[in-house]
């Protein structure tokens, strides 16, 4: 056989789907313009040992050395399938029913198919529509849905490019990302301990070494360390959890499900009904108060309003003592277990671990468990050695020193073009710096070439919190508190943080603003509202609303909101472009690396940045110049490196050759005081960011601004039912919907992303094959609940309430508490009847419409009532007669729903493994 001449090359590409930040580093083997394999990157130990001050931890006579190999996640390993996915949008496409010159047929969005058009035609339509909307209504009639969590990129980011474009074409309405996965912390815990900007404990410095040495037990409360950290592309938490066990520290999981972390690491699993943690917490406080087993001296010196809290817990306020018996009936934990848990906690040093997300912190009234957690920690001496709240994710984000001692000796300041989450000028006091990615003076001095590019363009005209976009469009009106900006981190870009103070939460806002237009056009780079946000069915109704004349989406894959778009613009993946990557959070080292295309862009796809260039070309060369600063993608990489500060440590030529600069670890990193240690020692000298500087057991701000709030009163309460939610098992609704649905981030996805990886779809916890061959999203059920309903493992079931019906595959397991069903959010929508019935298992479709509380603008996507039943022959017959087209769409048995199913006269020509 003739020997093939091959062209082999390696590329460094990060895996991160939590854009803007890039993440853990992969090494991609390529050959002849094809990706062969993706491996974890290994730091060159010889180099780093000599130059980078490698860190390690010691505790109880044992050592932890971070792996030199970057622990990329299973999603990172499979990314080849996403690059070559048959579900890629490869060409501009137009919905066949939509004619910008004639009938627009909003009512067939989610039903009708697409046809390929040229880039020229697509760009022209886009430009004409922007001009027409600006003229007919006003610029704010364009809603820009572009905020976060696509692929992490810096020179041509997944989000923010259209915002930048609309800043040049007249303005827009900003979809303001609500503080998702932090709901309870942001709207609740912040009122107890300040801890700006998100309300999770800050600082987090050196918590892991401190816990390793001093904690006896770790509570993983509604936390899955084997799931939520994966989006940033690393598995360091897994290694840490094994180490904690090796050290003899007890891992106690308190959650409705034996989650993936609990299945591996738990010494104890205490199942609790979804969103009833508040009752359990109150009973623990009751035990401590009545047994005198809390740190009274600490409470004396460190707290405000403790007496009011005590009065509520003991029943002096409402006549109901919050006893273990009272709590047990609500939370499903036996009385003796509650007592034993309270005793254990009082007798041992306990820290609580979290990884964002989860049912615990994003349910109706999530403010209450979040606040109570802080208060319980306070009663046991929060900030003292071994007593902390520790995050197993986002280690680099909220403070100069990280929970793991890998803090770099200098923080590379890689610029990031296009701010995806701008505030409305004038909304925020001028003393708060709101521009998220401006150039610092130092960056400007280092790289004058990009100063023009970073000129601050006009901001949006008005905004709508993302969790209220569907309501705003369907109801033509919305009101809410706060959310005038999205809090973001100070790191990795020092000086770029915006910190909404807690006072933002007491400002009332409205859509549309007086004198402003409603929305008539939508442009999205984040098409996952129907599966990742609250009441996805209402989002579908919004997207089909007659007032929405034009809906444009730019995205690499055909999924979710895309089925409702009128125009689809093809975007390339990270593996098809140049970029400068920053590994800030995998935990071994901070590094800055050069990313280069593994393959040319597939089809006619271009970067998100260049999509908008194509549209702006229709406006004129001056627009393109203002947008691009006359810099190419590679030039942006070059000058962003120059601005980062790394060039003073490694020349561009050397970096270009080595492809990576590893930042040495700060020698002082390990000396920073752990967590809130300073506050614990001296609260007067080191006050918290609350009005009193103390832990507030009755919030002085809520006392002042909204003392009558029954859903988030000054002292946290068990709220059985309130004006905003009626989602308890005690509700009359529970007669029809007797199960509490819990939902977490997916084990095999990052929100909506990676649901299409065919290889993980073979794993049963990812998808279950129904008898019709369709791969359904698993719905976990306890065997007793399944038996009551005649459901067997693998049956096709409907999960439903008043908001609609979502189809799933029954996953019958002992790993779930009774009276509960469990479906992760983010499965790809496959609409049978848009706004009513979904085959794809997108559970958020039936989550509550209202935010977590009347005054708390977070989304409640877990802990809501529903029922689960087998899908009947009559159900199928009804749906097939109402929506025959939904059953005729092509379905790929490996990848699932695919672009082919939505094409008229499908002709791809660039198939997977072509």
């Amino acid at each position: 056989m003739e020997k093939k001449i091959t062209n082999k090359y390696k590329r460094l590409v990060s895996f991160s789907l939590m854009g803007p930040e890039s993440g853990a580093l992969c090494e991609v083997d390529c050959e002849d313009g094809k990706i062969i394999r993706i491996n974890p990157y290994s730091y060159d130990k010889e180099y780093t040992d000599a130059n980078c001050n490698p860190w390690h931890m010691e505790a109880r006579g044992k050592t932890f050395d971070p792996p030199k190999r970057v622990n990329i996640t299973h999603m990172g390993l499979c990314y080849k399938t996403r690059v070559y996915s048959p579900n890629r949008i490869l060409y501009p496409m137009k919905r066949v029913d939509w004619d910008p010159e004639g009938e627009r047929h909003p009512e067939t969005r989610g039903i009708s198919g697409y046809e390929r058009i040229s880039w020229e035609e697509a760009a022209k339509i886009c430009a004409n529509e922007i001009k027409r909307i600006n003229k007919t209504y006003a610029p704010e009639a364009i809603l820009c849905e572009s905020d976060m969590h696509g692929e992490g990129k810096n020179v041509a980011p997944s989000h923010g490019c259209p915002n930048r474009m609309f800043s040049l074409t007249g303005g827009y309405t900003q979809q303001m990302r609500n503080m998702d996965s932090w709901e309870g912390w942001y709207w609740g815990a912040k009122h107890v301990w300040g801890c700006e900007p998100v309300g999770e404990m800050a600082p987090q410095a050196n918590l892991i070494p401190d816990m390793a040495e001093n904690s006896d037990g770790l509570f993983f409360w509604g936390c899955d360390p084997e799931v939520t950290p994966l989006g940033f592309g690393m598995k360091m938490p897994t290694l840490l959890c094994y180490w904690f066990t090796e050290l003899g520290i007890k891992s106690i999981y308190i959650c409705p499900d034996l989650n993936y972390g609990a299945a591996i690491h738990a010494d104890k699993w205490i199942p609790v009904l979804p969103n009833t943690d508040t009752a359990l917490q109150l009973a623990i406080a009751y035990q401590w108060l009545t047994n005198d087993t809390y740190d009274k001296e600490y409470i004396e010196k460190h707290t405000y309003g403790f007496d009011k809290f005590k009065a509520y817990v003991l029943g002096e306020e409402d006549g109901i003592p919050k006893t273990p018996k009272w709590a047990s009936e609500k939370c499903g934990v036996p009385v003796w277990t509650i007592k034993a848990l309270a005793d254990y906690w009082a007798e041992n040093k306990v820290s609580i671990c979290h990884g964002n997300g989860g049912s615990y912190i994003r349910s109706p009234y999530a403010t209450e468990p979040a606040r109570l957690e802080v208060m319980l920690l306070g009663m046991q001496g929060l900030g003292n050695p071994g007593v902390h709240q520790c995050k197993l994710i986002e280690w680099n984000m909220w403070a100069a020193n990280y929970p793991l001692p890998y803090t770099p000796e200098f923080v590379p300041a890689v610029p990031h073009i296009c701010d995806a989450i701008r505030t409305v000028p004038g909304d925020i006091p001028s003393n708060i710096k709101m521009s998220r990615f401006p150039l610092s003076d130092a960056q400007k001095e280092r790289a004058p070439e990009i100063v023009d590019l970073f000129e601050v363009l006009p901001g949006p005209k008005q905004y709508i919190p993302r969790c209220l976009v569907q309501t705003a469009i369907v109801d033509k009106h919305a009101e809410w508190m706060g959310m005038s900006c999205f809090a973001t981190a100070g790191n990795p870009r020092p000086g770029n943080n915006r910190v909404p103070t807690v006072y933002d939460q007491f400002e009332k806002n409205v859509y549309p603003r007086p004198g402003m237009s409603r929305i008539h056009m939508i442009w999205s780079t984040a098409p996952c509202n129907v599966t990742c946000w609250n009441d996805g069915f209402k989002f579908q109704k919004a997207y089909r609303d007659p007032e929405i004349e034009t809906f444009v989406i730019q995205h690499p894959w055909m999924e979710n909101d895309c089925y409702f778009a009128d125009l689809l613009l093809p975007v390339c993946t990270k593996h098809e472009m140049h970029d400068i990557g920053n590994d800030m959070s995998s935990g071994t080292y901070v590094s800055i690396y050069k990313e280069e295309p593994c393959i040319p862009p597939r089809g006619e796809s271009v970067s998100d940045f260049d999509v908008c260039v194509k549209v702006l070309e229709q406006f004129g060369p001056e627009y393109v110049k203002a947008y691009t600063g006359d810099l190419s993608e590679e030039e942006r990489v070059r000058f962003f490196y120059k601005a980062s500060g790394c060039e003073e440590r490694m020349s561009f030529e050397e970096w270009n050759e080595k492809k990576i600069f590893v930042v040495p670890v700060s020698k002082e990193a390990k000396d920073a005081v752990p967590g809130l240690g300073d506050f614990a020692k001296d609260p007067e000298e080191y006050p918290l960011e609350t009005p009193t500087g103390l832990l507030e057991y009755s919030s002085s701000n809520i006392e002042k601004f909204m003392p009558e709030d029954t859903e988030r009163p000054p002292v946290p309460h068990w709220v059985e039912k309130g004006p905003w939610h009626d989602e308890r098992l005690s509700s009359e609704r529970a007669e029809k919907y007797p199960l509490l649905c819990m939902s977490n981030h997916g084990r095999w996805r990052i929100h909506a992303q990676c649901d299409d990886i065919p290889w993980s779809r073979e794993v049963e916890t990812m998808k279950i094959k129904g008898e019709d061959g369709y791969l359904y999203e698993p719905c976990w059920l306890n065997p007793k609940e399944a038996e009551k309903r005649g459901i067997k493992h693998g049956d096709i079931v409907k999960v439903f309430n008043e908001r609609g019906i979502v189809l799933c595959g029954a996953y019958v397991t002992e790993r779930l508490i009774e009276q509960t069903c469990y479906v992760d959010h983010g499965s790809r929508l496959d609409p049978i009847i848009p706004g009513e019935v979904d085959r794809g298992g997108a559970i958020n479709n039936i989550s509550p419409t209202n935010p977590i509380g009347k005054n708390s603008t977070g989304m409640a996507t877990s802990g809501f009532l529903c029922d689960v039943q087998k899908v009947t022959e009559e159900d199928w017959a009804e749906w097939k007669s109402k929506a025959p087209w939904a059953f005729e769409r092509h379905y790929d048995k490996a990848f699932g729903v695919c672009v082919e199913g939505w094409m008229k006269d499908y002709e791809n020509g660039d198939n997977y493994h072509g």
Partner: protein, 275 residues
């Protein structure tokens, strides 16, 4: 000459399926010549058995990765020496040129040989021989395992990680199915075994520190433990399908004696002691 081996520590496996996925990444659509043809979607040269055992709320999950066991007494070679062969380094290869035969699927008692419908050939794990021959030191599955649950290396090199690990854990290593007497180059630690558990209460409170003695009625072997802070006890790693007697003793209470059989794991649930 190297002699390759694998050790799979089930206790260190977090079920991330990286081995399973990396293996697919290596093989689906990638041809490796004489050492293996490309596989098709849906095929897994590395499988993972996910095992849930016990009952609510004392339930466990174990993940058992199963590559080709690269047996020293390979049943596949014994049955079909025309198609399978062992290399001097111990890796067992199915020759792609001789694999167009569905009967080859029956050659492996572990079920490690799979059928590629599109190509019409039988296929199995080659231990990443193509990568080792190209100078790599690790297989894809061992390279991508984040937790050192899957260790690969040269057993002939006493300084290799696997040799040291094997020496340290010699007593715990076993074949996946010892009954096959195939002596795999893949050895396992902590394969799932039945456990007996319960929660001990007295007058509505958990009993901490109660003495629990679990005795095998057949061989008389005794396992002792104490109830923990939640009144729970658990004895792991028991032989399957044996009769056991469980005795619980706590101060101020009558001893309690229970019996069971480890057909699966046994969860007694709440065990109420009396005065």
């Amino acid at each position: 000459m190297a002699k390759y081996g694998f050790i799979i520590d089930v206790d260190r496996c977090n079920g991330c399926y990286s081995c399973f996925l990396a293996c697919k990444d290596e093989w689906i659509g990638n041809d490796h010549g004489e050492l293996g043809a490309a596989t098709a979607e849906g095929m897994n040269l590395m499988r993972v058995n996910e095992i849930e055992y016990g009952t609510h709320d004392k339930v466990k999950v174990d993940y058992v990765p199963i590559p080709c066991q690269h047996c020293k007494n390979a049943p596949c070679i014994a049955k079909r020496p025309d198609a399978f062969y062992a290399r001097p380094d111990g890796l067992v290869i199915l020759d792609p040129a001789k694999s167009a035969d569905k009967d080859l699927l029956t050659a492996c008692p572990y079920g490690c040989v799979q059928w590629n419908e599109a190509a019409g050939i039988a296929q199995k794990c080659n231990g990443c021989a193509h990568m080792l021959d190209a100078g790599e030191k690790q297989t894809r599955c061992s390279e991508c395992c984040p937790n050192q649950a899957l260790i690969f290396g040269d057993l002939d090199d006493p300084e290799s990680e696997i040799s040291k690990f094997a020496a340290e854990h010699a007593a715990e290593l076993e074949d996946f199915q010892p009954a096959f007497k195939a002596d795999g180059a893949v050895k396992y630690m902590y394969l799932p075994k039945p456990f007996i558990c319960g929660e001990v209460t007295f007058e509505g409170e958990d009993v901490k520190g109660a003495k629990v003695t679990v005795t095998c009625d057949e061989c008389g072997k005794e396992y002792t433990t104490e109830t923990d802070f939640l009144g729970d006890f658990e004895v792991q790693g028991l032989p399957t399908n044996k009769p056991f007697t469980v005795k619980i003793e706590a101060e101020g209470c009558q001893p309690k004696v229970l019996t069971c059989r480890t057909a699966g794991s046994v969860n007694f649930g709440e065990i109420i002691l009396e005065k």
